[in-house]
């Protein structure tokens, strides 16, 4: 797909008149959705925990998780790992 972009991007202006509602790279849970804030200050979905499978059939929920150098982020975790706070 990238190449198609290169062919057309030069011909088309980018438009974004959205009012920022969040700080870029901020993360949050929105129900079962895990979201991060994009460069336009808009929430974008990263994952929907209701659609995650694996982990021996565990139910998955959105909650805060410590992930290496990145510190605290939001992610889909097995429900029993969610402490219930920090949303």
């Amino acid at each position: 797909m990238r190449e198609v972009f290169f062919l057309l991007a030069f011909l088309t202006p980018q438009l974004c008149s959205c009012v920022p509602v969040c700080d870029t790279k901020e993360t949050r849970c929105n129900g079962s959705l895990v979201e991060t804030c994009d460069s336009n200050g808009q929430w974008q979905q990263v994952m929907n925990c209701a659609e995650v499978i694996g982990g021996d059939g565990a139910a998955w929920s959105c909650c805060p998780a410590r992930e290496g150098d990145a510190g605290l982020v939001h992610a889909c975790l097995p429900a029993d790992e969610c402490t219930g706070g920090g949303r």
Binding site: T12, Q14, T24, T36, V46, V52, G54, G55, E81
Partner: protein
């Protein structure tokens, strides 16, 4: 679009049996999604695109034709013959890129042509988000095979070749970091990965190299 992901920390998938496995895998995924793998080097539209990109100085035409897989709609232009080890594409790379490209088909089906093409082509943020989601397939496949999580920063760095802004690459890294937290707990998020891993669990469980 995707170049072959670097195979880190696992032994190569090679030999006649592995070739047959990769062919069968591509057959399964293309049947499942109604897609078609097309030899990129023979496709007139890809040759024209390569020439245009070369003339624009964006990408070397030969690198485009031999080094990248490109998906447009349900046509997947591949620079290799699935199951054949040549042209610098390992069999595992052919398998992984098949899943990555089919996640783009998932995105197209989910969002529709207008939204998908508009966001991908016109917005650096949109393009970075779509690619970060597709690169999650690489995270999921690699974890299934090795039990290890690829570095989100390295995956996100690939977006430099997609004309994404540095801020959008940072957002993509963040999204992949969030995904990594789920993947390392055994979660499989992307539908293309879910289908692929279900097939691999049945047809190639020995590929798993987890300790």
């Amino acid at each position: 679009m995707n170049a072959e992901p670097k195979a880190i920390g696992h032994s190569p998938l090679t030999g006649a049996e592995a070739s047959e496995l990769v062919r069968a895998f591509w057959d399964f995924m293309t049947r499942e999604y109604g897609t078609r793998a097309i030899a990129k080097a023979n496709a007139v539209e890809m040759k024209l695109a390569a020439q245009a990109l070369g003339l624009m100085g964006v990408l070397d035409a030969e690198a485009f034709l031999r080094g990248c897989t490109t998906t447009i709609g349900r046509r997947i232009y591949v620079p290799f013959e699935p199951g054949r080890e040549d042209g610098g594409w390992s069999l595992w790379g052919q398998l992984a890129v098949c899943v990555h490209e089919h996640q783009h088909v998932e995105q197209l089906d989910r969002d529709g042509w207008l939204k998908f093409a508009g966001k991908y082509l016109l917005s650096s943020a949109g393009r970075a988000a779509y690619e970060a989601e597709a690169y999650r397939c690489d995270l999921e496949l690699h974890f299934w095979r090795t039990g290890e999580v690829l570095d989100p920063r390295s995956l996100a760095a690939k977006l430099k070749h997609y004309a994404c802004t540095s801020t959008d690459i940072e957002v993509a890294e963040k999204a992949l970091t969030m995904s990594a937290a789920t993947v390392r707990r055994g979660g499989i998020v992307n539908r293309a990965s879910q289908k692929a891993i279900a097939w691999l669990n049945v047809h190639a469980p020995a590929l798993k190299e987890r300790a």
